[in-house]
């Protein structure tokens, strides 16, 4: 099997598997305008967020890191920024330009209004898409690929079919020199000792325990004395999950079994020479988590679901898979690949895992995912506490 991929080399040495123009709203008030521009111009993807004004401290820095990370994801060729006023635009335009990005910006308060901003935005975005459409993808080894792994809408099939099959594909990618990033700190609680045990150094193992302690402390401050007691949920128990460890072990299966290289904070960029298994400390809701992974520089995400879940990220093609035979029988319009025959006994886990790997390689070679074609990706940056 040819596992070389076709990608676009960026000035910072990373390789994208897509060549998107990002239309980025830098604050809440610009979201509807940005959405109209992206809808009008094929070849663009939309980044919006419901916050962005009067943010200070940790919130401000997280948001800045997230937007800069999303805009410089390897899949991005150029960026159009939309802000209420010029300082807000420049606050991102200048760092993007300094990082060598092809970036343009529009400040609403310098234009006549919504219709004018949309008209200017559509013109600029069209030019950017046409300009970058002449870049031809080059051949690269699979080792340049960095994949995020997610699960959501989980059920009994997730931990015994979909996630283990994805784990086999994750191992195959890492053995080829690529990287896999797991996230969602609260979801690994109960299996942290496995990740720490398999860490490359004791220090890296300690970072996992620290991330867990931080989330337990945050829960205590929020009035939850022992967050571990909230899992497995009543629903999980009805589904047959008996302990916290059992639930978490099912979730971490999707990342494979290679040693943990490092723990990244939310939206941290993967190291330049990344290879192997990484963990990113993120919130558990898929949209926030995938935004962190995309800002960290993964070029694609593989997302296993039990009962179905439509979330995808706009700048990273998101492969949707399921191992639940009933979900697959239902029709499963949003699935890119299904592995339900693991549970009917017609396919071995290993065979299913290899099929998932082949789908990952195909998407990295240019095959479009359902969520890309339907343009259902969206972003959401975690916040802590209220805006000022």
């Amino acid at each position: 099997m040819n596992t070389d991929i076709y990608g676009y080399e960026r000035s910072n040495g990373t390789v994208g598997i897509r060549n998107y123009v990002v239309v980025m709203s830098v604050m809440d008030s610009m979201n509807p305008i940005a959405a109209r521009i992206a809808e009008m111009v094929s070849g663009t993807v939309l980044i919006t967020d419901l916050f962005g004004r009067r943010m200070v401290g940790t919130n401000y820095h997280t948001r800045q890191k997230a937007l800069l990370g999303l805009g410089t994801n390897p899949n991005v060729a150029a960026i159009l920024l939309l802000g209420l006023h010029e300082p807000a635009v420049l606050n991102l335009l200048e760092p993007f330009a300094a990082m060598g990005m092809d970036v343009e910006g529009i400040a609403y308060q310098k234009e006549a209004g919504t219709a004018s901003v949309i008209a200017s935005g559509v013109r600029i975005a069209t030019q950017l898409v046409r300009k970058h459409s002449m870049t031809r993808p080059q051949r690269f080894p699979l080792s340049v690929l960095r994949m995020g792994v997610e699960c959501g809408g989980s059920d009994y099939s997730s931990g015994i079919a979909g996630n283990p099959a994805l784990g086999i594909a994750s191992n195959m990618l890492m053995d080829a020199g690529g990287s896999v990033v797991l996230s969602e700190t609260a979801e690994i609680m109960g299996a942290e000792h496995i990740l720490a045990r398999d860490a490359t150094t004791p220090e890296v193992g300690q970072k996992i325990y620290q991330a867990i302690r931080d989330i337990e402390e945050m829960a205590r401050l929020g009035g939850v004395p022992d967050i571990r007691k909230t899992n497995p949920s009543a629903d999980n128990i009805r589904g047959g999950i008996s302990t916290l460890a059992e639930k978490a072990l099912g979730a971490v299966k999707k990342a494979g079994t290679r040693p943990l290289q490092d723990v990244l904070e939310y939206c941290d960029r993967l190291p330049h020479n990344a290879s192997g298994f990484y963990f990113m400390n993120t919130a558990s809701p898929a949209c926030e988590s995938m935004t962190g992974l995309a800002a960290g520089g993964v070029q694609l995400i593989t997302f296993n679901t039990g009962l179905g879940q439509p979330s995808a990220n706009p700048v990273t093609p998101t492969i949707k898979m399921s191992g639940n035979p009933r979900t697959v029988c239902r029709g499963a319009e949003d699935l890119d690949i299904e592995v339900s025959d693991i549970l009917t006994g017609k396919e071995s886990l290993e065979e299913a895992g290899e099929r998932v790997f082949r789908e990952i390689v195909a998407v990295a070679q240019g095959k479009l995912t359902v969520s890309e074609v339907m343009r259902t990706g969206q972003s959401c940056i975690s916040v802590c506490g209220a805006s000022m």
Binding site: I160, S242, T344
Partner: protein
């Protein structure tokens, strides 16, 4: 009619070293189940009714012994568990 996709096997052992299997359909007490482990299928008799997604003991498990799934300890038994019995929060804990 609801599709019935689990035609070939009734329960799955995830890792060969596990002492439980996961039922892939609701099973009735006294029925013989086809259990898949590492590509091989063997039989076990359900000692009680067990729901889809729930665990069945593959061997007798003494009180206080580890329950192994994914080749990892997911908890320990709080009672003697007989082969074919339902393994869940009534007879195991963290």
């Amino acid at each position: 009619m609801e599709p019935s996709p689990h035609q070939d096997i009734d329960a799955l052992v995830i890792n060969p070293s596990d002492n439980i299997a996961v039922c892939l359909k609701d099973v009735q007490k006294g029925t013989s189940l086809r259990v898949k482990r590492n590509g091989e299928v063997f039989s076990i008799t359900a000692a009680e009714n067990i729901e889809c997604g729930h665990k069945i003991a593959l061997q007798n498990i003494a009180n206080g012994s580890p329950i192994i799934k994914y080749s990892e300890h997911i908890g320990k038994s709080t009672a003697d568990i007989e082969k074919g019995s339902h393994v869940h929060i009534h007879n195991m804990t963290d």
